[in-house]
Every structure is written in structure tokens, then in C-alpha cells.
């Protein structure tokens, strides 16, 4: 075991790989080159079109122990990963690693295949039952949780070699040009799949919407795609994107949003050229709404909105409040419609979005990002991976990427989740280091990291309820009581990789 700079005990090696303990957010400098892949040649007249998923798996040369990737833009409506794993199991292939951009609750169908050894491990975070069962010691499969930027880095530097990328393509032609803008499984941006297409040894486009050549515009071009296969359905359109993402009407959520928007105004960042990212949660949207009103009042023209894009950001783009949207994934139907029609709604890959090891990621240009948390500790470290019961239930997403890149990262969270205080002495799992977090906003008060003394002073001047984070914790605990610490076994069920590949924490089996 080794201790990283946050005092977290991590194994020296995991799943056959030597681990590097986390040190700080910015100091690791990469060496070497971007991982290469083989050249190929497709002569005139050759067809890439295959008749079934099984045929595509055979053609890809997938063998025992290899790694496959899918993207998660179809979210909980995705059918592809489940079908692939079932087919792989039928073909007798075993020991497959999954390096998808995320695994969702819908993918709990593959659990029997984990138990039977068809799936050997995950090069990605998992949402839902797989993580929970792993946390209870019911599944034996290594899980390496990565950020969106960290996943792009790992694939590009070759530390994760994707042997076959199966790309769910909502709109695709027979030569492999594709986008996610139309068709029954439209999901908008294919930002995560772009990285896979560039670096996987073999790329298979899977579509339920084969259209005449050429697909335009092209998100992933034919030059990267080896095979094209059609299936009946890629996913459930009702679950691919949220049909509605609404501003919260909960008074507590609105109070938090009001504080957060006032923090943004007080930060001095809300001026011409402002760049901004939020999630799709009700509080985040309420913050967006208040920021939008502030931009209107101040006649402010922002630079860009980023990340998972919602209809809210589309409205701000169309109103002229932002010059562009940088979209790695669409969060709702309005965003999907927009990316197909708005030139300034720019689809970007995960590499451009958040990879720390390139010549500059978009997150580095963010002024302000609004993020959530399941727990925060008195050192401002944030947990989004495990719940307070210790179960690994969530992926990291772009949390640590944007926190590290933005000038100001704001955590918004109700002070009490269930009956538990959000602020703890020590978070169950560190996802994002406190040194990259600026402000924690709850309905009971605002805690400012000492790294932003001027902002803290300004918030106090504006009579906002600024509290030391320990004071905030004590106040919350007066309502909730102090929870008993969780008990864990020694067995490591997952490691949480920071965006630069170092290990920020390990998730251990929960003592039942």
C-alpha cells in the first residue's frame, strides 16, 4: 500500500498494473507520443457492410482478453453493449475488458457475464448495480474509474488499448460516415466515440439508420471505420436523452441556485467573454437561468457554453448570450436538434474537451463550472463516485477535468442528503481534489476555499452567508447528528484514477 498526497491509501498495483499515487493536479508531464495504430487499405469496390453483429465481431478479430469500447451517449437507453456482450458470450470468447465511456444502470444485464468470466474488468466507471455488487464483494472484476478527459488521455497514450470500438451510430452510411443528429436513436454529439474511432485497432459502426452515402455533416469519418453493421434498434429513444430537464421548483434547490449565481456575479468573471459549464440537474439549470438573466441585465455576451449541453444553453446561444457551444454530449432533445442546425453549436471530442495531455483542452478555457457532489470534506475534496453507504454507484464524468481547468469551480449541493450531512470530516472517496474546488454552496451557507481570498471578501461584503467549511459542517450536523464512519474490508474493488493517470483513491469492499 502507498499513501498519496491526500493521505489516501492506495494499492501499489492493481489488475496487473503498477499505480502512481496522486500528487497534485498539474505537475505530471507526459513523455512519448500519441499511440499509433495500424495502417489499413480499402480498395475501390470493397464493401464494409456486414449482415450481423456476430459477423462484425468475427471480422474485428476479437479474441479472449481483448478490450472493447462503446460510447454512452445513448445513456440508459443503450441496447448495444448488452447485445455485444451477449453475442461475445455466445461465441465463447472470455476475459473481455470493457473500456466504454461509461456504463449505465441499463447495463446490469451483463452481470451474469461478469460472473461467468466473459467480462474480466472495466476500464471505466460504472453507474448502478455493477458498482454496488462489486462494493459488496459479489462481483470479482477490477474497475478503473476514469474522468472523460482521463479516458481520452489513457486511450491516446496507449495505456488503455482499445482493440475493437463498436460505435453506436444514429445516422450512418455504408462507408462508415456517421453522426448522431438524426434517426430513431439520435443522441446528438458523438464526442466520446471520436476518441475511440481515432485510436482503436478496429472500428465497427453499428447503426439502426443506414442512409445513402454520404452522411453530412460527418462527425466520425469513413477513413476511421473498418466495418458497418445494421441492427434493428440501437436503443430506447425515450431513455437516450432526457425528454425534459427542468429548473428545480424545490425552495431549497432554488436557494442554492440563488447563492451560486450571486457567487458567479461576485467573482467578477461574469463579463463579456464569460465561459460556463453546468450539468443538467434542476439546481444547475436554476443557476443557468439566473446567470442568463444576469447576462441579459448586464448586456453581457459570453464566449462559450460547454460540456453536456441542454436546451437552456441552446436558448442562450440562439439569444446571442454565448458565441458558441462546445458539445461533447447532448443532454436533451433541444440540444440534439440544435447541434444538427446551429453552426455555432460545435461538436467536440473528449480529447478536445478535457484531455490534460494535449496542446490545450477546452476545460482550460472555462471561467466557471457548476458541479454536484455526494459528499464534500473540510479540505474541499469532493466525492461523486460513492454514496455515503460506501457503494460505488457513479462515474466521474467531467467532474475533475472541469474543476482543474476552470478559473472557478462551484459545488452546489443540498446540505443534507437523505438524513446525512453533505460536509464530512473526510469524504468516503476522493473524486476531485479540494485544491481544484473554489466554492461549496449549500442552502445553509457558502464555504470559500482559502485559494480565493478576494472572492471570499467580496461575498462577505455582499452580505452573503459565508461560513468556514468546518462551521458549515457543524451547523449541518446540529440538524443531522454526526454519522458513524463506514466500515470497509481491505479488498480494493475499484481505483479512482485522476485525469493525469495517477490514483486519487481506492474504493474498498463495504463491511456488511
Amino acid at each position: 500500500m502507498a499513501l498519496n498526497s491526500l493521505g489516501r491509501e492506495i494499492p501499489e498495483s492493481y489488475a496487473g498494473r503498477k499505480l502512481v499515487p496522486y500528487g497534485d493536479p498539474y505537475s505530471i508531464t507526459p513523455s512519448g507520443s500519441v499511440a499509433a495504430r495500424r495502417l489499413r487499405r480499402v480498395n475501390p469496390g470493397a464493401s464494409k457492410l456486414l449482415s450481423s453483429l456476430r459477423e462484425a465481431i468475427e471480422a474485428s478479430g476479437l479474441k479472449d482478453g481483448m478490450t472493447i469500447a462503446t460510447h454512452h451517449s445513448l445513456r440508459n437507453g443503450d441496447f448495444l453493449l448488452n447485445r455485444l456482450v451477449a453475442e461475445i458470450a455466445d461465441m465463447g470468447i472470455r476475459g473481455i475488458w470493457i473500456a466504454s465511456s461509461s456504463v449505465h444502470p441499463v447495463h446490469a444485464e451483463i452481470i451474469p457475464h461478469i460472473k461467468s468470466g466473459v467480462v474480466a474488468g472495466f476500464h471505466c466507471g460504472v453507474n448502478g448495480l455493477i458498482g454496488e455488487m462489486a462494493s459488496r464483494g459479489e462481483l470479482s472484476c477490477p474497475i478503473v474509474v476514469r474522468t472523460h478527459g482521463g479516458r481520452a488521455r489513457a486511450i491516446m497514450e496507449g495505456s488503455v488499448q482499445v482493440d475493437v470500438a463498436f460505435i453506436a451510430a444514429p445516422c450512418c452510411d455504408e462507408y462508415g460516415n456517421m453522426n448522431g443528429y438524426s434517426g430513431p436513436s439520435a443522441c446528438g454529439s458523438l464526442g466520446y466515440a471520436q476518441t475511440d474511432a481515432l485510436h482503436a485497432a478496429c472500428v465497427v459502426a453499428v447503426t439502426d439508420n443506414l442512409v445513402p452515402f454520404p452522411v453530412v455533416p460527418v462527425s466520425i469519418p469513413q477513413t476511421l471505420v473498418d466495418y458497418v453493421v445494421t441492427v434493428d434498434r440501437l436503443g430506447d429513444p425515450a431513455k437516450i436523452v432526457s425528454t425534459t430537464t427542468r429548473i428545480t421548483t424545490d425552495p431549497v434547490g432554488l436557494q442554492i441556485a440563488s447563492f451560486a449565481s450571486q457567487v458567479i456575479e461576485a467573482s467578477g468573471l461574469l463579463k463579456d467573454g464569460f465561459s460556463f459549464q453546468t450539468g443538467s440537474g434542476g439546481i444547475s439549470l436554476a443557476v443557468s437561468d439566473k446567470v442568463r438573466n444576469a447576462m441579459r441585465r448586464g448586456n453581457i455576451k459570453g464566449s462559450f457554453g460547454c460540456g453536456g449541453i441542454t436546451g437552456y444553453f441552446v436558448e442562450m446561444l440562439e439569444e446571442g448570450l454565448f458565441g458558441a457551444l462546445m458539445d461533447v454530449q447532448c443532454f436533451d432533445q433541444e440540444a440534439v436538434k440544435s447541434i444538427a442546425k446551429n453552426r455555432a453549436h460545435q461538436e467536440i471530442g473528449a480529447d478536445m474537451y478535457a484531455n490534460p495531455f494535449n496542446a490545450g483542452a477546452v476545460v482550460n478555457r472555462l471561467d466557471c463550472v457548476i458541479l454536484g457532489a455526494t459528499e464534500v470534506d473540510t479540505s474541499f475534496n469532493v466525492n461523486v463516485n460513492t454514496e455515503s453507504n460506501g457503494y460505488l454507484l457513479h462515474n466521474t464524468g467531467g467532474h475533475s477535468d472541469t474543476a482543474a481547468g476552470a478559473k472557478l469551480s462551484i459545488i452546489v449541493a443540498p446540505s443534507i442528503r437523505g438524513r446525512l450531512p453533505i460536509v464530512r470530516d473526510r469524504v468516503t472517496t476522493v473524486t476531485t481534489p479540494g485544491e481544484t474546488i473554489g466554492v461549496v454552496v449549500t442552502e445553509r451557507g457558502i464555504a470559500v476555499n482559502d485559494r480565493h481570498p478576494e472572492l471570499k471578501e467580496e461575498l462577505i461584503r455582499r452580505k452573503l452567508p459565508v461560513k468556514e467549511i468546518g462551521e458549515l459542517q457543524r451547523e449541518i450536523c446540529r440538524v443531522t447528528g454526526t454519522p458513524q464512519p463506514l466500515q470497509f474490508e481491505d479488498q480494493v474493488v475499484a481505483v479512482i484514477e485522476y485525469r493525469d493517470g495517477s490514483i486519487i483513491d481506492a474504493v474498498r469492499r463495504v463491511k456488511e
Binding site: 425552495p251 431549497v252 432554488l254 440563488s258 443534507i416 442552502e443 452580505k463 440538524v479
Partner: protein, 306 residues
């Protein structure tokens, strides 16, 4: 001396819901009315008053006025509410169905008895009578004078319309006479007038319009049923920028006159008399609450001028 405490927003919170009670400290309303009356089913009356007591006991760093709406004194719960809740030191009691001065006087007597028993200052607990019937509105003047503890009169339109056997409309024309009468009674006795609730929590424009009407009439605050309504109500009751600027000039003029040792205060060639000073003081206190001015007014300067 009149009570100048800012009461733009008085938020009702049900007394039988721990999850809502625990959020009382976080909302930026001026006062909270913890309800033991209409919001609490008969089967929960006993549990609710003990829950409210427990909450008030642990809510030590109080950041807003706390009132408790008890059940009417002519029910079997009213006295018990007082007995359980008063040791937890609320700031005052909202008395529902205050139809006559005698009902308020009875509460006054009871509060005095409890204060003696609890060994706290006589007059510690305020009274906010709720005028919510035809009889209550008719008796408004007598009620306003019935106890020194009364700091405001509250108009309750829901029960009032029921007592009048009419429907409440969005425009509220049917409430005009009652609203005005309650207002006159309050103003004539130097106490505040607080307007009724606006029940449709989804209709912010309706709330804004009704609050603006109440403000134009002379009400200084409004009772609320949802925290989402606070922001709108505060916006309406916020003084205008030019009002704040003028009020600051008035205070400056007073201070200048004091420095010069003159009793005659003038501003822009006009005499600054007591009503002008009083209005300026009210504007600045409200402006301070809204963060429009950085410091509270110099009360000594104000009262010296009066």
C-alpha cells in the same frame, strides 16, 4: 415608540413536518409563522406542538422573527399550544380568528401569566392578531387597541371570504374594503399592517400584482405559503433607488444641522419635518435589509430630530 421591525415577508411553515421545520434557518424571509392550526390535522395536534417546541429549543442562533400560530383559544388545543410552546421562547403568537378585542385581551392575560411563570419580562411575547372574518374586520380598530403586545394586524382573506360567503378572485376586488379597514386600524394605532397570503404558488405574476396593490395601499408586508414567494415579495417592497438617495440626503441634512447646532433642518430649500424623517428612516432600514446601503441608519440622529 412604534415598532419599526422589518416584516416584508412572513412565511408559514407547517408545525407537523420536521423536514420543513429544519429548513427555517435557511430562508431569507423576515419572519416565520410556525403553524399549529390549519396545517395540522386533528390527530397530529399534540405531536406537532411538541415537535415545534423541540425545534425552537435547538434553534438557538435565530436569524429571523419566529411566531407560532396557535389554535383558536376557544378550542381545546389553543391553551395547550401556549403551554407547550412558550417555554421555547417564540417571539410572538399569531392569534387566528381574532374577531373581538376580548379574545385578544384573553390571550394577553394568558401570556402575562406564562411570562410570570417563566420569569421573563412582561410583554416578552408579542401578538399578531389575524383579522379573518366580517366580525374581525368590523372590530379592527378595537382589536388594534386591545393589547400593548400587538405589533401588527394581519388580514386573512381565505377565512374572510368564507365568512362572507364569496369566492376570492385573482384581482381581489372583493377584498378591497376589508383590506382598507384593517389598514386604517393599524395605521391609526401606529402598528404595521400585513397582507393576506396569495395561495397560487405557481403564479408569480399574480403574487407580484397583489403585493404591489398591497404596498400601494400601505401594507408593509405579506404572509407567504411557499419560500419561492419570498424573492418576489422582497422585490416589490424594496425601495426605489431615488427613494434611497433622497432618504440618504435627509439623514445627511439632519447630521449637518446637528453639527451646526441648529434646530432647523432644510434640504434643497425645503424644511425637513418629522414625517419626512420618519419616511426616510423607514426607507433606509428597508434599503439596508436589501443590501442597497452598507450601514444601518443612525437612530440617535433620527430620534434627536424628532
Amino acid at each position: 415608540m412604534p415598532d419599526y421591525k422589518l416584516r416584508r415577508s412572513l412565511l408559514y411553515v407547517p408545525g407537523n413536518m420536521p423536514s420543513m421545520l429544519q429548513n427555517i434557518p435557511i430562508f431569507n424571509c423576515d419572519s416565520v409563522i410556525i403553524d399549529l392550526e390549519d396545517a395540522v390535522p386533528l390527530s397530529e395536534k399534540d405531536a406537532a406542538r411538541h415537535l415545534v417546541k423541540r425545534f425552537l429549543m435547538q434553534y438557538t442562533d435565530r436569524n429571523k422573527e419566529l411566531l407560532v400560530r396557535i389554535n383558536p383559544l376557544d378550542t381545546r388545543w389553543g391553551y395547550e399550544d401556549l403551554k407547550v410552546v412558550l417555554p421555547a421562547m417564540p417571539d410572538g403568537i399569531r392569534l387566528p380568528k381574532a374577531d373581538t378585542p376580548e379574545i385578544v385581551e384573553r390571550l394577553d392575560t394568558l401570556l402575562t401569566e406564562f411570562e410570570e411563570e417563566l420569569e421573563v419580562e412582561i410583554g416578552r411575547f408579542g401578538i399578531l392578531p389575524s383579522l379573518e372574518s366580517a366580525l374581525g374586520v368590523i372590530n379592527a380598530v378595537g382589536i388594534a387597541r386591545s393589547s400593548q403586545r400587538i405589533f401588527a394586524l394581519a388580514f386573512g382573506a381565505e377565512d374572510y371570504t368564507a365568512s362572507m360567503e364569496i369566492e376570492r378572485s385573482r384581482g381581489g376586488e372583493e377584498l378591497f374594503n376589508a383590506r382598507t379597514r384593517v389598514l386604517w386600524a393599524a395605521k391609526a394605532n401606529g402598528i404595521q399592517a400585513l397582507d393576506t397570503i396569495f395561495a397560487d404558488v405557481g403564479d408569480m405574476e399574480g403574487l407580484r400584482a397583489e403585493t404591489e396593490l398591497a404596498k400601494r395601499l400601505g401594507y408593509t408586508g405579506k404572509c407567504l405559503v411557499n419560500p419561492r414567494q419570498i424573492e418576489v415579495v422582497h422585490e416589490v417592497f424594496a425601495p426605489k433607488k431615488h427613494e434611497v438617495e433622497y432618504a440618504l440626503q435627509v439623514i445627511e441634512a439632519i447630521q449637518r444641522a446637528r453639527q451646526l447646532g441648529t434646530g432647523v433642518i432644510s434640504l434643497g430649500g425645503k424644511m425637513v419635518d418629522a414625517p419626512v424623517v420618519k419616511r426616510a428612516a423607514r426607507v433606509l432600514r428597508t434599503a439596508y435589509a436589501h443590501g442597497m446601503v452598507d450601514t444601518l441608519i443612525d437612530e440617535e440622529a433620527i430620534h434627536g430630530a424628532q
